[in-house]
Amino acid sequence: MEPVFAVLTGLFFAFAVYLMLSKFIIRVLLGVAILGNAVNLLIFINGRLLREVPPVLAAGLDVPAGPVANPLPQALILTAIVISFSFFAFLLVLSWRAYEALGTDNTDRMRLAEPETSPLPPEGY
C-alpha cells in the first residue's frame, strides 16, 4: 500500500512545485495549499499504513494483541494542518492586500521594496 501512496505524494509535490514556480501570487498560493497536503500525506505514510485496526485496547489487555495503527502521525498531522491552514489564511489576506495596494499579482512587478532604479551607491568621498 505504501508505494501507491508514495507515488500519490510525489504527484502532490510535483503539482505544488509547478504552481509555486509561477510568477502569479494566486498560483503560488494554491501551490502552498497543495504543498501542505503533500507534507501531511508524507508524514502519514512515514508512520506506516495499516488498515482498520484502531489503536484501542480490548478490555482486560495491557498491550494490544496484534499490530495496530500508529496514532502519533495523526497527532503530528493535526498540528501541521492547523498551522498550515492559519498560514494559508494569512497569506491569502496578505496577497489580497498586496493586490489592492500594488495593483498587480505579478511578482516581477512587485518592486516597491526594491525599486529597479534605485540610486547608485556613493562613489567617492
Binding site: 508524514i43 503530528l76 497569506l91 498586496a98 495593483g103 516597491l112 521594496a113 525599486p115 534605485s118
Partner: protein, 545 residues
C-alpha cells in the same frame, strides 16, 4: 476499569523536578502568559509598553539564571506531562541553547525599550507588544526544546508573530516585503516539516536525544544523508545562506526599524542554532559528508553579503546585507565541525545578535535625525549627534571584526579553526569578507556621519522623505521615504531614552571585546556538548547511555 493492574508509575516521571529545573520552561511560559495578557489589554495601549519591557527584563534574568544553572550542573531536562522520555515532549536546555536564548532576550529587551519611543498608539493597537512577546516565546522555545517536532512548532510560532510584526503600519512597501518574506519562509519551514516526517519514518522517535543516540547506528546510510541535506537546505533558507537568501534583503528594510532590529538579531540566528543542533549533534557523519557544500555556500554568503553591502545606497538595505555576510561566517564554522569552529560559530552568533540588533536601532536614530535613510542624503551627523555617531562607529568596527570589539574574537577563532583544518581558502574568505565590510561601513560612516551636511535645509526629524527612482510603472507614487509621521516627538529626553538601548548593546559588545574569556569558555562548553552529546542524552534519559 478501576481494578486495572497497570502500574502507571512505570510510564511516568514520578519524582518532582528540582526547583531550578523549572528555569527550562519558565522563559517560554513567561512570554506566552505576557503575550496573552497583552492581547487582553488591547484597549489599553498605555499599559502595554511598560508591561512588555518589564516581562522582557524578567526574561533576561531567567535566562541568566538558566545559563548559570547549566554551567554549574550541565544540561537540564523537563518532560511535559511527566511522560517518560522519549514519549513525552522534552524541553532540554544545554549551554548552546541557553547562550543563544540569553543573548536573544537581551536584544529583545533593548528593542522593547527602544519601541517605547518608536511604536505609536496605532501600532500598539495593532498588537505590536503581543506579537513581540509571542515572537520571544517562539524564539525561546526553539532554543530550549529537546524535541524536533516541537522545534517545528516553535518555528511556526515565531514565524506567524514575525508576519504580524512585519506588516504593522501596513504601508505598501511593507506589504510587498512581507509577501516575499512570508512565502519563502513558509516554504522553508515546510521543508523542515518534510525532513521531520522522513526522520520519524526512519527513527520512530522525535526526541533529539533519542535521535542522537540512534543516529550512530544508521551512520552514513542514504536515508540519513537525505535527511541531513534536507535539514541543511531548510535551515539554510531560514538562516539566509547564499542561494536561498534573497527574501532577507527584499524585506528586512521595510518594517519599523525596531522590528528590523529584532529580526536581524533573532530570526536568522534561530536558523543557525537549528543547523548546529541537527548538523553537529544529530547527524555529524552526514554533515562531514556535506562539509564541502556548506563551506562553498559559506564563502559565497560571506562574499555576496559584503559585496551587496558595498552596492547599497540605503542604510537599512546595507545592514540587511551585513546580516547575510555574518551568516556566512557562522556557516564556515558549521562546515568545519570541530569544537573550536563550533565555539567560534556560537560566539559569532552571540556577537551578531547584539551588534546587528544595535546597528538597526542606531540607524533608526540616524535616519530620524537626518530625515532620510539615503546614505548620500544624510551628512554631518557627527556634528549634530555626537553620542550616536560614536556608538555607531564602535558598532561598525565590531561588525567588521576589528579589535577590540566583539566581532574580533569569533572571527579569530573561526580563522584559526579553518587554518588548523587546512581550509586556507575559507580563512581567506572570512578575512576578505571582513575587509569588504570595513570598506562598506567605513564609506557609510565617512559620508553620512563625518562629511558636513550638504543640504542644510534638511532639519531634525522633519518628514523630508525623498522620492526614489521612478520605475515608470503604475507604482510610481512612492510614499515619503521613510515615513516619520508616526514617531513620537523626539525631544532631548526622547533622544536620550532611545539612545539607552543602543548604548547598552554597544557596551556589551565592548565588554565582550575586552574580556572575552567567559563567553569563549561558555561557547567551548556548548560546542563540546554539541559535538559529544553524552551529557545532553544523559540529562534526558538519566545516567550515561
Amino acid at each position: 476499569m478501576a481494578s486495572s493492574p497497570i502500574d502507571l508509575s512505570l510510564a511516568l516521571v514520578t519524582a518532582a523536578p528540582d526547583a531550578a529545573d523549572w528555569l527550562v520552561v519558565l522563559p517560554v511560559a513567561l512570554c506566552i502568559a505576557t503575550g496573552a495578557l497583552l492581547t487582553m489589554l488591547r484597549g489599553r495601549p498605555a499599559l502595554q509598553g511598560g508591561l512588555a519591557v518589564f516581562s522582557l527584563a524578567v526574561l533576561v534574568l531567567l535566562n541568566i539564571g538558566l545559563v548559570s544553572h547549566i554551567s554549574a550542573s550541565g544540561p537540564v531536562t523537563m518532560m511535559m506531562g511527566r511522560w517518560l522520555p522519549p514519549f513525552g515532549i522534552a524541553f532540554t536546555a544545554d549551554m548552546a541553547g541557553a547562550l543563544f536564548s540569553l543573548s536573544g532576550s537581551v536584544v529583545a529587551l533593548a528593542a522593547g525599550v527602544y519601541s517605547l519611543g518608536d511604536i505609536n498608539e496605532k501600532g500598539r493597537r495593532h498588537g505590536f507588544y503581543p506579537f513581540l512577546m509571542l515572537l520571544m516565546a517562539g524564539v525561546s522555545g526553539a532554543f530550549l526544546t529537546g524535541d524536533i517536532f516541537n522545534l517545528y512548532v516553535w518555528f511556526e510560532v515565531l514565524l506567524i508573530s514575525s508576519f504580524g510584526l512585519m506588516v504593522i503600519g501596513s504601508e505598501d512597501r511593507q506589504i510587498d516585503g512581507a509577501v516575499k518574506y512570508g512565502f519563502l519562509n513558509l516554504v522553508a519551514t515546510t521543508l523542515f516539516l518534510i525532513a521531520t516526517g522522513f526522520l520519524y519514518g526512519i527513527f520512530g522517535t522525535l526526541n533529539m536525544a533519542d535521535i542522537a543516540r540512534k543516529a550512530a547506528g544508521f551512520s552514513g546510510t542514504a536515508p540519513l544523508m537525505t535527511l541531513a541535506t534536507l535539514y541543511v537546505f531548510a535551515f539554510g533558507m531560514k538562516a539566509a545562506a547564499f542561494p536561498v537568501n534573497f527574501w532577507l534583503p527584499a524585506s528586512y528594510h521595510t518594517p519599523r526599524i525596531v522590528v528590523s532590529a529584532l529580526f536581524a538579531g533573532l530570526l536568522t540566528k534561530v536558523g543557525i542554532y537549528a543547523l548546529l543542533r541537527t548538523g553537529i549533534m544529530l547527524f555529524p557523519a552526514e554533515r562531514a559528508g556535506l562539509s564541502g557544500v556548506i563551506a562553498t555556500v559559506a564563502v559565497l554568503t560571506i562574499i555576496s553579503g559584503a559585496l551587496g553591502a558595498l552596492a547599497q545606497s540605503d542604510m537599512r538595505r546595507l545592514l540587511g546585507y551585513l546580516v547575510v555576510s555574518g551568516i556566512g561566517a557562522m556557516l564556515a564554522g558549521l562546515s568545519l565541525g570541530t569544537v573550536e569552529a563550533v565555539a567560534g560559530t556560537i560566539v559569532y552568533g552571540v556577537h551578531s545578535m547584539l551588534v546587528m540588533g544595535a546597528l538597526y536601532l542606531a540607524i533608526g536614530l540616524a535616519g530620524r535625525a537626518a530625515g532620510t535613510f539615503e546614505i548620500g542624503g544624510a551628512g554631518g551627523l557627527w556634528q549634530r549627534q555626537l553620542p550616536l555617531s560614536a556608538l555607531t562607529l564602535v558598532l561598525f568596527f565590531a561588525v567588521s571584526g576589528l579589535p577590540p570589539f566583539s566581532g574580533f574574537w569569533p572571527k579569530l577563532m573561526l580563522v584559526k579553526a579553518a587554518l588548523a583544518d587546512g581550509a586556507g581558502w575559507l580563512a581567506a574568505a572570512l578575512l576578505i569578507g571582513g575587509f569588504l565590510t570595513t570598506i562598506a561601513t567605513g564609506r557609510f560612516f565617512l559620508i553620512a556621519y563625518w562629511r558636513p551636511s550638504s543640504s542644510p535645509q534638511r532639519g531634525e526629524g522633519g518628514p523630508k522623505g525623498r522620492m526614489r527612482g521612478n520605475t515608470g510603472s503604475e507604482l510610481a507614487e512612492i510614499p515619503p521615504y521613510p515615513p516619520f509621521g508616526h514617531l513620537l516627538p523626539a525631544g532631548e529626553k526622547g533622544q536620550a531614552a532611545a539612545l539607552l538601548p543602543v548604548a547598552l548593546l554597544t557596551l556589551a559588545s565592548i565588554l565582550i571585546g575586552l574580556y572575552p574569556e567567559p563567553l569563549i569558555a561558555a561557547a567551548k562548553t556548548a560546542a563540546e556538548g554539541l559535538v559529544t552529546p553524552s551529557a545532553y542524552i544523559g540529562s534526558v534519559f538519566g545516567g550515561e547511555p
